[in-house]
Amino acid sequence: MNSKIIIWAKNNLFNTWYNAVITLFLSYFLTKAVRSMVQWIFSVSWVVIPRNLKLILTGAYPVDQLWRIWFILLVGTFLAGISYSLLKKGIRGTVLVLILVPALLASLGFSHVSRMYLLSLSICQVVGYLSGKYLFGGKAVIIAAVGWVIFVPFIYVMVNGFTGPEGFLPLVRTNLWGGLLLSMIISITSIILSFVLGLFLALGRRSELIVIRYFSIGVIEIIRGVPLITLLFLGYLILPLALPANITIGVLLRAMAGIVLFHAAYMAENIRGGFQGLSKTQYEAAYAMNFNKFQSMVLIILPQVIKNIIPVLVNSFTGMVKDTSLISIIGLLDLVGISTAIAANPEFMSDSQQVLLFLSLIYFILCFSISRTSRKIEASMNYDK
């Protein structure tokens, strides 16, 4: 065992004299950096995070309605559990981590209610996994697919509510949505809508009809040539003017319009890449089977294209999560917006470093896990072949 480590170190750290020098130098600086980092972490007060955790995660969402968010999470983790049972090998470790994280978080000293909810999240995943594996059998695929499709509108209904203040699900206005909740809602909506819009743009770009083709090319290239923030301002300032006078739309929808339009153009290019990656013989085979254009597109081509671009799609989700941060510039209180507001609070004025670090950590965990998932999916798909 010991000699194995030595051989490994010899091959990977000290294989030449200059590598040995670099290794020694780097280890020295790395230890120093880590040590001063740790010293800093213990020298500052972190009370700003627990005091504002509710704000960072959900913004001004009413406290007595928070159970709705938890409920969404519980349903989501249950669906995730079923989905794990469908995935192939190589993903066990990730699943284990996902199951353990809520349980570990529960041990961090939150309130009793939160701890119970966190524990239930873990349990829900396990129950989902077991029922997917042993209870549903062959139906698990259908249950998971239908579940995920219903899940998104379900999020809206739960978060937004529809009854009066005394009812079962009182209406919560969008200006009360904030923090991670708002960021996630916008990201999820934009990935779905921009995928649909992007699909149409990609099809338009490949169309033989010149009017439609040039229209799609124009839209895609103009959008890709400008920064997201100009589109956000376009939605924020011009969209209310451009709509008929009797229609008013909220800031959230205006921001969403800008983000969706922006990502649709990039999505269209990704989808186009998927089309180009597909062998021409598929079209010919469909033609030989006497399928008409519409049939061959919907039944033969699209399913394969979509399957091929799933990793890219998941990966572009990280871009979307990151880009939603820009809505703070037009004054929405997403993760970044709420953190700015907290740091501007005189009580926490000196804690901006901690808030920003925590913010980066949330984004990192989110995006890193998403991109890891995309790589796992890609690998498991290659494994398929």
Binding site: N19, I22, L26, T230, F233, I238, K322, L326, S328, Q353
Partner: protein, 395 residues
């Protein structure tokens, strides 16, 4: 029968496209109509006359002269120049940093490889906006106040203020910098002559290379010639062409030297970190995309390690790297627009300020989108020319 069917198909297609075009025109026209009505109700019919009016704003950083009596148009130009300058500098620096990190990423040293990997993963999974805010609020704003500025090599200047080689405070950074002096023009002439000589020398080297079949490093040799002659000129000239200009503290602002505001510094640092991580990945993919057999073939032909990299690996890696690099470079110009979040007066911030001042939303957004489109177009044009030069010439 066949003919009528074909005809039908054609008619259908044309009619369909015509309808689609009509629909698009209808939607755009009605949106435009609504906008005009809404603006008329506010008494602000779209017009670009406001561009020539005085802006009445101050812009902290400007390359061309600007004060608050300058026109709105000039303000936009100032913003555009700031965007172009910082994009150019960021592209330059992050390409070198990205190349370095990309090479570290494929190093045989485990520690080097994984530090580079960690850097790339961390940067790519955090939004640029958060990075910028971090640099601005958590680094530059946490610097000491100007009264207690960090000073390196401080001395008492002749005017009575405090001088130094480097001032660091929450206002930004000021460092001693070279300033053109009396011999400057003469020195420029020498450099011009050196460049001319180098070009001639380079042409000769190329012809020599073609004749003998060897491959001399034309660019490197010419460059060393320029450096050599210029250095010689610098030493020989009686008046030094440049002198050190030290920043001094007069009142609250360091004067002289090269000063970098906190906003500029944050945008620069944040963008460089962000961009270089992406460039590193593009470069790593390029180098790893070159078939191993190529390296083995080059070695078996007796090429040295250095020659293998320069003549075999790099040209092929560039071919893979250029397309993603183009989109990264295009992204830089667009990403500078995030300067608005930390108050750096780039094109978009200036537009935002003018928007608040004049209320001319439609016109200003049209202007800013057109300018960004133009910038993207120019950048992709340049990169496409370069790309077509290095791609395989298929015969």
């Amino acid at each position: 029968m066949q003919l009528t069917k074909l005809n039908d198909d054609r008619v259908l297609r044309t009619a369909g496209q015509f309808l689609f075009a009509l629909l698009v025109i209808f939607i755009v026209a009605s949106m435009y109509g609504n906008t005009i009505t809404a603006l008329t109700n506010r008494g602000m019919l779209p017009s670009f006359k406001f561009l020539s009016l005085a802006a009445g704003i101050d812009i902290g950083e400007h390359i061309i002269p600007f004060d608050n009596s300058s026109s709105n148009f000039r303000a936009i130009i100032v913003g555009l120049l700031n965007t172009i300058t910082i994009s150019f500098i960021v592209i330059l620096f992050s390409t070198f940093l990205g190349l370095f990190i990309g090479l570290c990423r494929i190093s045989k040293n485990w520690l080097v490889k994984n530090i580079a990997l960690a850097y790339i993963e961390v940067i790519r999974n955090v939004p640029l906006l958060v990075l910028l805010l971090f640099w601005y609020r958590a680094v530059f704003m946490e610097m000491p106040h100007i009264k207690k500025a960090l000073i390196l090599g401080s001395f008492q200047s002749s005017t009575g203020g405090k001088g130094g080689t480097l001032f660091l405070s929450n206002r930004g950074l000021s460092i001693a910098w070279l300033k053109p002096a009396e011999g400057w023009t003469l020195f420029l002439y020498i450099v011009a002559v050196a460049v001319l000589l180098a070009v001639v020398f380079g042409l000769y080297l190329r012809a020599y290379g073609k004749k003998t079949g060897r491959k001399p490093m034309v660019f490197l040799w010419s460059l060393s010639l320029v450096v050599f002659i210029s250095a010689l000129g610098w030493i020989i000239l009686p008046d030094s062409p440049m002198v050190m200009d030290y920043p001094t503290l007069n009142g609250f602002n360091p004067v002289g030297g090269l000063s970098i505001s906190s906003e500029w510094g944050s945008l620069f640092s944040g963008l460089i970190l962000y961009t270089s991580a992406y460039i590193a990945e593009a470069i790593r993919a390029g180098i790893q995309g070159v078939d191993k057999g190529q390296v083995e073939a080059a070695h078996s032909l007796g090429l040295s390690n250095f020659q293998t990299i320069r003549l075999v690996v790099l040209p092929q890696a560039l071919r893979i790297t250029i397309p993603p690099l183009t989109s990264i470079y295009l992204g830089v110009a667009k990403n500078t627009s995030l300067g608005v979040a930390i108050g750096f007066p780039d094109l978009f911030s200036v537009i935002g300020t003018l928007l608040n001042q004049t209320g001319r939303a439609l016109e200003l957004i049209l202007v800013v989108m057109t300018i960004y489109l133009g910038l993207s177009l120019i950048t992709s044009l340049i990169m496409n020319i370069y790309n077509s030069k290095i791609q395989l010439e298929e015969k």
